[in-house]
Amino acid sequence: MTGSISQRLAIDIGGTFTDIVLEQDGELNTSKVLTTPAAPEDGVLNGIEQVLAKAGTASGDIGILLHGTTLATNAIIERKGANVALITTDGFRDVLEIGYESRFNQYDIFIDKPTPLVPRHRRFTVPERVDVHGRVLLDLDEDAVQALLPKLDRAGVESIAIGFLHGYANPAHEQRAREIIEAARPDLSITLSSEVCPEIREFERLTTATANAYVRPLMARYLNNLETRLSKIGIVSPVLLMTSGGGLTTLETAARFPIRLVESGPAGGAILATGIAADLDLTKAISFDMGGTTAKICLIDDFAAQRAREFEVDRQARFRKGSGLPLRIPVIEMVEVGAGGGSIARVDALNQITIGPDSAGADPGPAAYGRGGEQPTITDADIHLGRIDPGRFAGGQVPLSPDRAEAALSADIGKKLDLSSQMAAYGVTEMVDETMANAARVHAVEQGKAASDYTLIAFGGAAPLHAGRLAEKLSVERIIVPTHAGVGSAVGFLRAPVAYEVVRSRNMRLRQYDPEFVNAIFHEMYDEAKAVVEAGAPGSVVSEHRLAYMRYLGQGHEIAVNLPTRSLTDEDADLVQTSFDATYERFYQRTLPNAEVEVLTWALTLTTASAPSETTSIEPTDSRDAQVAGSRAIFDPASGELRDVPLHWRPDLVPGDAITGPAVIAENETSTFVPKNFNARIAANGFIIVERNRERTS
């Protein structure tokens, strides 16, 4: 689809920064501007002007615009979405609030549970009832729906979610209720639970539907404004939006199901890593994206990122499972850890070092910034250990004060634990590296994988500093640090395919295997996905992926089992059973002797073939010792002493340059720390390849 387009523009709106990347004949120009929350299009336009000026090109040459944004996420977190009403089944007004009936922290008496997006006074009920099989137990009371209209008016409602019990099994009542309201109030935006999340479990489905309704007017407005502003400066190219699932979708679909845009920035990072894995023929890669406030880790097997169907947004106790709003949407499966450069370190009641989840952010920032930050952060620890060159941090734009870093580490950690300031700093980085390693390991295991078989792809401001230690902890042999690591997500958008995923919950016991039933479901889903993908990438070749979410009859959690992308026949019953057994065994070690198997949900993803990735060797053709720019005193924990190591300046390095760890490779947006027992070399394309030195490993 992209062959004829000479210039492509990628935009990633994050919480603090908006990143813009312009691709022109394979060359990248980038800009980073502050996000303008009140009117995000302002920041976007500003960034576009900068990047066009840098590239010395005109806006009219842009062929396509790829866009990801955290606006939807932020609207939910900051509770700045629409005035939403929920219409649900009589007797179930409080599903959103009753939730799991549990406490996300067992021992804390004083927790606050997540506040639902729709308060009780805007949750309305109407008589109707469908049973678990989709049969109507009680007809929809259409007069009751009509009678809601004046109440909706009085409450000033802009957007409505309709979610009835078992609506996934039979959406007729939800659809009829929409017809009635639409006829009377055509301007209201209406979300059906059966469309946005046709799956069993009422709390998750209704939460997802209300979240969609909550961000819909705002996203529609923003996307509309953006289009207008872009056309004013002469950009009339199509706009595709990045989804949390890692595929691009059309403006129209994005405006209908904006909840699918949540977490699109991190998804872009995972796509970047996926592309690199494909280029370098890495069948097992871990994307490691560590910025100012969080670290995101994602597994990439056979050039495909792991996917999931659930995501929790707006956690009350940050990063604590169960404290947020559960969304059932297709997402790239990532673990997010509250550990970034700005994360604050302290000593807890157990006399242990803990990190975050709060971050000093950019303002006041780490203690070393000298802008009033008093508490030590991970960046302070990195500085104090010698891993960051204070003279060149952020290209020299942010002057660092190592003394302040030392003072903060000493006061908040060292004195309390009777450790030297260096040992305190080491403790801080060890804790954060261990936390990330644990998250990666558990995450890998949840997928039935071992992290040690993987190559780390490190990007984001803080990742290259910590990737080395992470690799040691995970027994990983190799790390790749790509170029343009600081704007990784936006670069990732340029590589993303147009894609759409459809799911359907339709139960089938394997004992009653019916190929026609299955084929009909996939046929229907194919048509739905095709319509979306065709709109975004007309005439392109698509590839298809089919999954069945299966379990033993009686279990509550399913595992994703691959199905062939063709019509099934009677003979395939065995194939499905065998695939299930193999997958189950991979996860849980043994299959069950006497239990029957069922399929709960079917999923189909259509995706345009990504730009054909030619596996090219990036191995440099020659090798020489790299030019040294200076030296840094690095803390060696085993001896407890400082030790001078070489400092290299990345822009000075050329393919073939070889570096023996320990060493520091500095650049504008980050530094790469090469640990002892690791070597680094500059690849033909400028990437840094860091590898364990087998000869020297004892």
């Binding site: 049973d131 009422e202 009641a349 006399n351 390991r441 558990v442 509550g556 996860f587 849980y588 070690q589």
Partner: protein, 554 residues
């Protein structure tokens, strides 16, 4: 290696251990069959050293299990001495006095070997929905009526599953496939835990866990003792009356805070019951310790060290220390009242930390009957749907509506209940005016309406409390509204015991609201008006209890 370096290593290994057992618990959750496990998380998982000390416990899990499993492993070691343990062995029991308090909980312990040497024990528990007998209710008059009783046995011997035992288990439950599946699920979760532990030990070059276990236990013990040291010393007494099976029960507690820790004595508590609401001592210790932890040391991870500063005693023969062969199936109904009982004492020492009384025990709706949709060809269904009342108001915050406390399990989704059992739940929402009024309002209870979905009666195995004796307010707060149980046609049902709900009849359940904290008249007016606007309180309730009349309801 420097000492400081070692200290950091220890801390890191401790964190890793917690992530190992968390993974163990997640495996159990994802592979379990019983909805009460897979949807609600009625389980526990932990790792133990060779002395039987619990060194880490999964955060996922429920306190009654966790803290009684902490003792169970010592019993396993007594029955299967360490030197007799082999790689591939799995031990099992559901003995209420050696395990976690009733026959429904299967406890599995797996010895974990590294390079042929025993290094640790993994243990886990989950609640099996049906294990035969009278079913999961209160009607038994001795433990043998309550289902299959498995002594300490080998479930697997050097990797060979005990098929005789599995056949016995299958034959003694109304849900053979699910029950067997749950046993496999328990076994798998210990296996995963062991795998990860061995990997960790390889990575850190550990040969044994002794030093790490000492570090974890000592650090945790010190942290709890440091918190205890900040509390006012003294002895505090309180008592609470609850419904009981056939007559009210007195729970009497005396809490002593001293330099040695905190001790709780239940002397004066009612004698044991004829029926299945008796509590084995380990379960009493479990929920008492949990209540203390919440108030005193909520940030310290739970393990043998953090539990050590708490000592608990209940007189033998009392309802809180009922010996074999007492019926104990619904021991949670009484056991889960213990945090509130202890809070009555602690409120005299640290009032700013103590909430008002809440619904206390889970309001588990256990039904049984014929089915047209049971999985795996069963003709009888059994289901335990977890629901809750409200928690007590907290000194600075309202109580939590429809939320479990002290239990840590989740509620069962309505759609899941209807998918596994032939029932229709017509209503499940907040119950207006059920939260006790106060400066801080108690959490609301629920109103739930259930009917058979087919032409067959339902059997309800009731095990509820706080119907005759509602949660009491604190510091001027009013009581929470009591729970109740009736048929839509009018008849009241008993809070405990098996009863019928005829086909076509609706069962109406009111779960109790939590009690209020502080004088309702000082509650901020905007909070009262918000409650009114949201229908959490009625206009009459606002006027009667808060003296608030300016209202215009929408």
């Amino acid at each position: 290696m420097t000492q400081a370096f070692e200290k950091i290593q220890m801390q890191i290994m401790w964190n890793r251990l917690i992530s190992v057992v968390e993974e163990q618990a997640q495996t159990l959750l994802r592979t379990a069959f019983s909805p009460i496990v897979r949807e609600c998380g009625d389980l526990s998982a932990g790792v133990f050293d060779l002395q039987g000390r619990m060194i880490a416990q999964a955060v996922t899990g429920t306190p009654g299990h966790v803290n009684s499993m902490a003792e169970a492993v010592k019993h396993f070691i007594r029955h299967f001495p360490l030197e007799t343990m082999n790689e591939g062995d799995i031990y099992i029991t559901n003995d209420p006095w050696l395990g976690t308090g009733h026959l429904n909980d299967f406890v599995l312990t797996t010895p974990c070997f590294k390079d042929g040497r025993l290094v640790a024990l993994f243990s886990c528990t989950s609640h099996i929905t049906d294990i035969g007998g009278l079913g999961t209710g209160t009607d038994g008059t001795d433990v043998h009526m309550e289902g299959i009783y498995i002594p300490m046995l080998k479930l697997a011997d050097r990797g060979q599953m005990n098929e005789t035992l599995l056949a016995m288990v299958r034959q003694n439950t109304r849900q053979p496939v699910e029950t067997e599946g749950d046993v496999y699920s328990l076994a798998a979760c210990n296996d995963i835990g062991c795998c990860r532990l061995v990997e960790m030990m390889d990575e850190f070059g550990l040969e044994g866990l002794d030093a790490l276990a000492d570090y974890v236990c000592q650090n945790s013990y010190d942290a709890v003792m440091a918190e205890v040291a900040k509390l006012p010393k003294g002895t505090f007494r309180s008592s609470m009356t609850i419904d009981g099976y056939d007559k009210p029960l007195q729970l009497v507690a005396e809490v002593t805070i001293s330099d040695d820790g905190i001790s709780v004595d239940y002397d004066g508590t009612s004698p044991q019951s004829r029926y299945g609401v008796n509590v084995p001592h380990a379960y009493t210790i479990a929920y008492t310790s949990f209540g203390l932890s919440c108030i005193v040391s909520s940030d310290v991870p739970n393990n043998a060290g953090s539990l050590a500063p708490f000592t608990v005693r209940a007189p033998e023969g009392s309802i809180l220390n009922a010996p074999y062969p007492a019926a104990v199936c619904s021991r949670h109904v009484i056991g889960q009242m213990l945090p509130d009982t202890v809070f009555g004492c602690l409120a005299q020492a640290v009032p700013e930390r103590i909430p008002a009384e809440g619904a206390g025990c889970l309001w588990n709706l256990t039904f049984r009957g014929e089915t047209d949709r049971g999985s795996n060809d069963a003709s009888i269904f059994c289901i335990t749907a977890v629901t809750n009342g409200g928690t007590g108001a907290r000194p600075s915050k309202d109580g939590l509506s429809a939320t479990a406390y002290p239990s840590g399990v989740r509620g069962t989704p309505v759609e899941i209940n209807e998918s596994v059992a032939p029932i229709v739940i017509w209503r499940k929402e907040y119950r207006t005016d059920s939260g006790g009024a106060g400066a801080q309002r108690g959490g609301l209870g629920q109103v739930i309406e259930v009917e058979s979905a087919i032409d067959a009666d339902l059997e309800l195995l009731a095990a509820f409390d706080r119907i005759d004796y509602p949660p009491r307010g604190r510091d001027g707060g009013l009581n929470g509204d009591a729970g109740s149980l009736r048929l839509a046609s009018g008849a009241q049902l008993r809070g405990k015991g098996t009863q019928h709900v005829a086909s076509g009849e609706r069962l109406v359940i009111h779960t109790p609201g939590g009690a209020g904290h502080g004088d309702p008249h000082v509650r901020a007016e905007d909070l009262v008006s918000a409650d009114l606007r949201n229908g959490l309180i009625s206009a009459e309730g606002a006027a009667r209890e808060y003296g608030y009349t300016a209202a215009k309801a929408d």
